[in-house]
C-alpha cells in the first residue's frame, strides 16, 4: 500500500461517526464493589480495579491500513447505541461496512455552548450576579473522563454523595492533568511496574502511612497489569486478523503490529514505531483518566526517530507515514463540540538553554499542514535562538489560516517560572497544559483553572457605590476590596475541590507516569507530583481597566459626567444616555493601543491580584499562581454582567483571555503586544494568552510570510508570554453566517483551540466578528 493510499483509507475511517447515547442509568452497569473484599478496600484500589476492568473489557478494533492501533474507549463495551448509529456525520463518506464508528460525538451541543447555558441558567434562576461563585456548582470540565469510556461502579453511596456536593462523580478526574509521556517511553510500563513493586517490597505496611502508601502502590500495579493485558489484547487481535488477511503485505503489517504490542507489554520501546504505539496506548488510557496533553512530543520522541534513522531501520518516508497514522488516531478522539485538550508543543530550549528544535519538530508541523486536521492542537515555543527555518514554517502555517500553532515565548516564560520557584533546568522543560496554562511536563499536577475571578463583575459591584468615592484612588481601593473577596471565594472553592478529589478520583495510571508520585508513594491527587501548583484565573482584565480609565477621565479629571448620573445610566443600560455611553467608549484610552494611561491600570490590577495570590498554599502543598484566562467564559461572564463604565452594554461579551476588549485595539497587532507586555510575566506564572485577529491581507502577498515571521520575532523581543493568531476577514465570517453550508470547514481559533465557525453558538460568532473590527 502506498503512503497516499494508506492515508486515504485512514481518513475514511474518520468519516464513520457515532453518537454517544446519554448514560442509560445504573441498570446493567458493571460494578467492582461486589468483588471479594472490595467494600473494605481503599478507594484507590477500587478505582484501579474499575479501570482495570475497563481495559480488559473495552472493545478492541483495528481499522484497515492502520499501523498505530487502539480504538477510542466506548461508553460501555458493546454499547449498541454507539455502534448502531454509526453515521456519515461529516459528509466525507459513509462508514465502512460493518466497522465500528471511529469517532464519537455527544448528543447535540456546540463548542462553548456550556458556558452560555450555565450563564442563562443562573440568570433565569435569579442567582446573584457575583464576581465569584457563591456556590460550588461543579466545574463542567471536571467530569472529564465521561466522553471516553465510563468506569464500572467503584464508589460507595457515601463517597458518591460527598463527591456530588462538589460536583464530582466516579468518572471525574479534575484538574488539567498531563501524563508523563517521556517517563513512560524511557521506562516502559514494565519499568514503572518494577519501580512500584520494588517500593512495595521495601515498605512497612503496619503503620497508617505505610498502609496508605501500599494502597497507592498496589493501585498502580493493578492498572499497569491491566495496561499490559490491554496491549496483549491488541497483539492477539492483530495476529487473528493477520491469519484472515488476504493481502500478504497487510498480513505482514498486522504481524508486525502484533510484535510491537507484545513487545510493549513487557519492555520499554526500542524503535520509533514501538515508541509511537506505546505513546498512543498511554494516551488512550490517560484520556479516560482526564490527562489529555502530549507535552513536548518532539523532544521525548526524537531519540527513537534518530536512532532508527541512524541505524538504517527506518526511512524518512516511513517515519512520516507513521506520523500520519498517529495524527489520524488523535482525530478519532476529536470532538469538534469541545476543546478535548489534545495539545502538543514543539521546539523551544533544551535543559542547557540551547535550541531544542529538531527534525521531528518540523515533521510534526508538516503533518498538521499536510493533513489539515484539527488534532493534535499544535503550539510552538520560540526563543531568540530558534532557527529561522522553524519560525518561517510556523509563520507559513499561521498565514495560511490553519489557526495553528499557538506561539509561546521562552524568553518571557522561563524567567517567570523560575520566579515562581522552579529550578531553571526544569523551567526550560515547560509545556502548555489545557489551552494555554503552563506546567513542567512530566513533573506536575496542575489545577490550573478551577479558581476563577471575574474582574468586570468586581468593578460592576464597586461602581454601584460610585458616589461614595471622592477620588479615583478611593474608587480603586474599593475595587481592590471587591477583588480580594472574589479571590478568597475562588481559592476556597478550589481548595474544597482539591480536598475532595482524592476521595473520589484517585488516579493511579497518571500518577505512575508523573515524576514524584512513585518516589513519594503518593497519588498525584494527594500531592505526589514534584510540582503541585494551582491556578487562579482572572478574566475581564482589559474591560475592567478600560472602565477604570473612563471613570478617571470622565468623573475625576474632566468632570464631564456626574457620578450619580453614571450610576443611573449603568442601572438602566444607558437608556436615553447614548451620548454618555459614546463618551465612555471614545473619550478615554483603551487597553491594547500602547497607551500608558490605561495600560498602567492593567499593571496595577494584575500586581494587586498577584500579591493576593502569592504564597497561598493549596491542599496538595503547592502554591497558587496567577493566570490571565477567560477560556470560553468571555460570553457567559458577559451575559451575567450588567452595563459597565467602559461603555459596554448589559450582557455584552467581554475581552477574551488577556486580550483587548473586542474591536477596541486600533493600532495594529504589535501595539497590542506592547500593551500586554507592560505586565511583567513574573506576575503571571500560570500563563496568559493574547488573542490577535489579523486581516488576511496583512499576511498575504509575496512578503506575507516574511512579515508574519517578523511579527513572531518581534513578539519574542517584546517579551509577551503567549499569543494566538486568527487570520480573519469579518466579511467572510458574515458571509459564513448567511451561508453556513458553504463554509462548513471554515476554522477559527477559540480560547486556545481551533473550531468550526459555523457550528459555534451565535454569541461566539458575533464576538469573533467584533474582534476583526478596525482591520
Amino acid at each position: 500500500m502506498t503512503r497516499h493510499d494508506r492515508l486515504e483509507v485512514l481518513l475514511k475511517t474518520l468519516s464513520s461517526v457515532g453518537r454517544i447515547t446519554p448514560p442509560g442509568g445504573e441498570a446493567g452497569r458493571p460494578s467492582v464493589l461486589d468483588e471479594p473484599g472490595a467494600a473494605a478496600s481503599p478507594v484507590a484500589i477500587r478505582k484501579a480495579r474499575a479501570l482495570a476492568w475497563l481495559l480488559r473489557n473495552v472493545p478492541v478494533h483495528i481499522y484497515p491500513g492502520e499501523l498505530i492501533v487502539g480504538l477510542p474507549f466506548r461508553e460501555l463495551p458493546g454499547d449498541p447505541g454507539v455502534q448502531g448509529e454509526a453515521a456519515s456525520e461529516s459528509g466525507v463518506g459513509e462508514a465502512a461496512g460493518g466497522e465500528a464508528a471511529a469517532r464519537l460525538l455527544p448528543p447535540g451541543g456546540a463548542a462553548g455552548e456550556g458556558y452560555i447555558l450555565e450563564a442563562r441558567r443562573r440568570l433565569a434562576g435569579g442567582w446573584p450576579l457575583e464576581p465569584y461563585s457563591p456556590d460550588i456548582f461543579g466545574i463542567p470540565a471536571a467530569g472529564a473522563g465521561t466522553r471516553y469510556g465510563l468506569l464500572p461502579r467503584f464508589a460507595t453511596d457515601q463517597e458518591l454523595h460527598e463527591a456530588a456536593r462538589v460536583g464530582l462523580d466516579e468518572n471525574s478526574n479534575p484538574g488539567h492533568l498531563q501524563a508523563g509521556h517521556a517517563r513512560v517511553l524511557a521506562h516502559g510500563w514494565s519499568g514503572l511496574r518494577e519501580m512500584a513493586a520494588a517500593k512495595l517490597a521495601a515498605l512497612d505496611e503496619t503503620t497508617e502511612i505505610g498502609a496508605g502508601r501500599a494502597a497507592f502502590l498496589r493501585s498502580v500495579l493493578i492498572v499497569l497489569d491491566a495496561a499490559r493485558d490491554f496491549a496483549l489484547r491488541y497483539a492477539d487481535l492483530a495476529e487473528t486478523q493477520a491469519g484472515a488477511a488476504a493481502d500478504p503485505a497487510r498480513r505482514a503489517e498486522l504481524l508486525q503490529i502484533a510484535a510491537v504490542c507484545r513487545h510493549l507489554a513487557d519492555a520499554p520501546p526500542s524503535t520509533f514505531w514501538e515508541a509511537l504505539q506505546l505513546h498512543y496506548f498511554t494516551h488512550l488510557i490517560a484520556m479516560n483518566q482526564g490527562a489529555r496533553q502530549m507535552g513536548r512530543f518532539d523532544q521525548y520522541m526524537y531519540p527513537f526517530l534518530a536512532a532508527d534513522l541512524d541505524a538504517g531501520r527506518l526511512t524518512m518516508d516511513r517515519a512520516a507515514e507513521l506520523l500520519d497514522c498517529l495524527w489520524v488516531k488523535y482525530n478519532q478522539l476529536t470532538d469538534i463540540t469541545v476543546d478535548n485538550l489534545q495539545n502538543m508543543i514543539l521546539g523551544g530550549q533544551d535543559q542547557d538553554g540551547g535550541d531544542a528544535t529538531n527534525l521531528l519538530s518540523h515533521m510534526c508541523l508538516d503533518a498538521t499542514d499536510r493533513l489539515g486536521l484539527v488534532d493534535p492542537k499544535l503550539s510552538v515555543r520560540l526563543h531568540r535562538g530558534t532557527p529561522e527555518g522553524f519560525v518561517r514554517r510556523t509563520a507559513e502555517i499561521i498565514a495560511a489560516g490553519r489557526y495553528q500553532p499557538g506561539v509561546y515565548n521562552d524568553e518571557a516564560i522561563i524567567p517567570a517560572l523560575v520566579g515562581a520557584g522552579i529550578p531553571l533546568e526544569h523551567a526550560r522543560d515547560y509545556s502548555n497544559d489545557g489551552c494555554s496554562e503552563l506546567l513542567i511536563q512530566g513533573r506536575t499536577n496542575p489545577w490550573c483553572f478551577e479558581a476563577k475571578v471575574h474582574l468586570l463583575q468586581c468593578l460592576e459591584r464597586t461602581v454601584r457605590r460610585l458616589e461614595d468615592f471622592a477620588t479615583f484612588d478611593d474608587l480603586f481601593s474599593a475595587l481592590k476590596g471587591e477583588i480580594n473577596r472574589a479571590v478568597e471565594m475562588a481559592l476556597a472553592n478550589a481548595n474544597l475541590l482539591q480536598v475532595a478529589a482524592p476521595r473520589i478520583s484517585p488516579n493511579p495510571l497518571v500518577s505512575a507516569t508523573v515524576e514524584g508520585c512513585l518516589e513519594r508513594m503518593l497519588d498525584l491527587t494527594e500531592g505526589g507530583a514534584l510540582y503541585n501548583p494551582a491556578g487562579l484565573c482572572a478574566s475581564g482584565v482589559a474591560d475592567t481597566a478600560d472602565g477604570l480609565a473612563a471613570l478617571r477621565r470622565m468623573i475625576y479629571v474632566e468632570r464631564a459626567v456626574a457620578a450619580g448620573d453614571l450610576v443611573r445610566a449603568l442601572a438602566t443600560d444607558f437608556d436615553g444616555e447614548e451620548r454618555m455611553r459614546q463618551a465612555l467608549l471614545n473619550r478615554a484610552p483603551k487597553f491594547g493601543n500602547d497607551s500608558d494611561e490605561v495600560d498602567d491600570l492593567v499593571v496595577a490590577l494584575v500586581q494587586h491580584m498577584a500579591g493576593r495570590v502569592r504564597g497561598r498554599v493549596n491542599p496538595r502543598g503547592g502554591e497558587y499562581v496567577l493566570g490571565l484566562f477567560s477560556y470560553g467564559d468571555y460570553i457567559g461572564h458577559g451575559l451575567m454582567t450588567g452595563a459597565t463604565p467602559d461603555g459596554r452594554r448589559r450582557g455584552g461579551g467581554i475581552s477574551p483571555n488577556f486580550s483587548p476588549a473586542p474591536g477596541r485595539d486600533l493600532e495594529g497587532p504589535f501595539a497590542v503586544l506592547q500593551s500586554t507586555a507592560k505586565v511583567p510575566p513574573a506576575l503571571t506564572p500560570n500563563g496568559r494568552a493574547v488573542d490577535i485577529a489579523l486581516h488576511p491581507s496583512a499576511v498575504s502577498g509575496p512578503d506575507g510570510v516574511a512579515n508574519m515571521a517578523g511579527l513572531l520575532r518581534a513578539f519574542v523581543e517584546v517579551g509577551e508570554m503567549q499569543v494566538q493568531f486568527n487570520v480573519l476577514d469579518g466579511k467572510v465570517l458574515r458571509e459564513a453566517q448567511r451561508d453556513p453550508e458553504r463554509y462548513r470547514n471554515l476554522t477559527v481559533r477559540l480560547w486556545g483551540f481551533p473550531a468550526y465557525f459555523v457550528r459555534l453558538p451565535r454569541e461566539f460568532q458575533e464576538h469573533l466578528i467584533a474582534r476583526t473590527a478596525g482591520r
Binding site: Q582, P669, A671, V699, A706, N707, G710
Partner: protein
Amino acid sequence: MAGAAGLVFDVQRFAVHDGPGIRTTVFLKGCSLRCQWCHSPESQSSLPEVMYSAAVCIGCGACAAACPRGLMAGGRSGPGQLDRNACQACGRCVAACNAGALVMVGKTARAEEIVARLDRDRMLYAASGGGVTLSGGEPALQPDFAAAVLRGARAHGHHTALETAGNAPWGSLSALLEHTDLVLFDVKHASGDEHLALTGARNEQILANLRRVSAMAGAAGAGAGAGAGAGENGPPRLIVRVPVIPDVNDQPGNIAALAVLLGGLPRVGRVELLPYHNFGVAKYAALGREYRLSSVPSPSRAALKGIAAILMARGLNVSIEGAGLDDPP
C-alpha cells in the same frame, strides 16, 4: 530644522503594503494633484478639515450646538449640511462629538513626536526588515518637516521610504532624497494634456523629477525584502508605481507611451502596477464631495498581465500589487 512641525492626517502602524517589511506610514496632508480616482480625498487640502461619518453618528445634535458660526442646521442632518466654505475648522464640533462621527483631518505634529512614535515599533522593523514610509498627500509639499522626520528616523536607525507623486519643485524633493532609502514614485499618465485633465496638473515637472531620481538611484535591487539597509546613506532605490484605472489610463496608447518612458529611464528597481479599487468612495461622502468614478470597475487580472507584458518587453521588472506575475492573486 529642529522642531519642524507639519500637518499630518494619519499615522498607520503595521502597514505592510508601503515598502519592505512591516512599516509605519505617516500621511502628510496636502497634495498638488487632484486625481479623479484618489482614494484618500482627505489628503488633498493642505488645511485641516472636518470629516463626518453618518454610520457612526447618533444624531445627538451636540455638534450644531457647539458650532460658533451656526453652520449646522442642527439635529441629525446637521453635520451633513455643514457649510464647508464658511467652516474654519475650529474643531469645536469635533470636540463635542462623543460618538467620533466627526473627526478633524489634519493635526499639527512635530517631527520629534513622529520619530518618537516610530521608535515604539523598533523591534518590529528590525524583525521584519521594515521601517517608516512618508506618504500623503504629497510629502514634498512640506519639505522641512518631511526632511526632519526622515533624517530623525534614519538617525534612529530606521529604514526610510518616501511615497511621492513627484509634482513638487526639484529642490523640495531632492532635500528629502538624501535621507531616503527607497522612493516609491507614482506615475499616472504619459500625456501632459491627459494628465492635466485627470489630475488637474500637467506632468512635465513630474517626469523631469522622475528622470533625476532615476539618474541618482542606487543599485537596482528589485527584491522587496531587502529593506534592512537603513543608515547606509547611499542614494535611494527607486520603485515606480502605476495605478491602473480602466478606461482612464489603461488605454493601449498610454501603456505603450509609459513603456517607452519608463524603459528609457537610467535606473528603475521595479515597476509596480496598482489595480484601481473604489475603497475610497465613502470618504467622499464624509467630506461632502462627489465621487466621479463610482462606476469604474477594478481591472481584471488578465488586463494587468497584458499591461505587465508590454512593460516587460522594455526590459522592466514588473509586479502586480507587489506580487510576482505568477503568484496567485
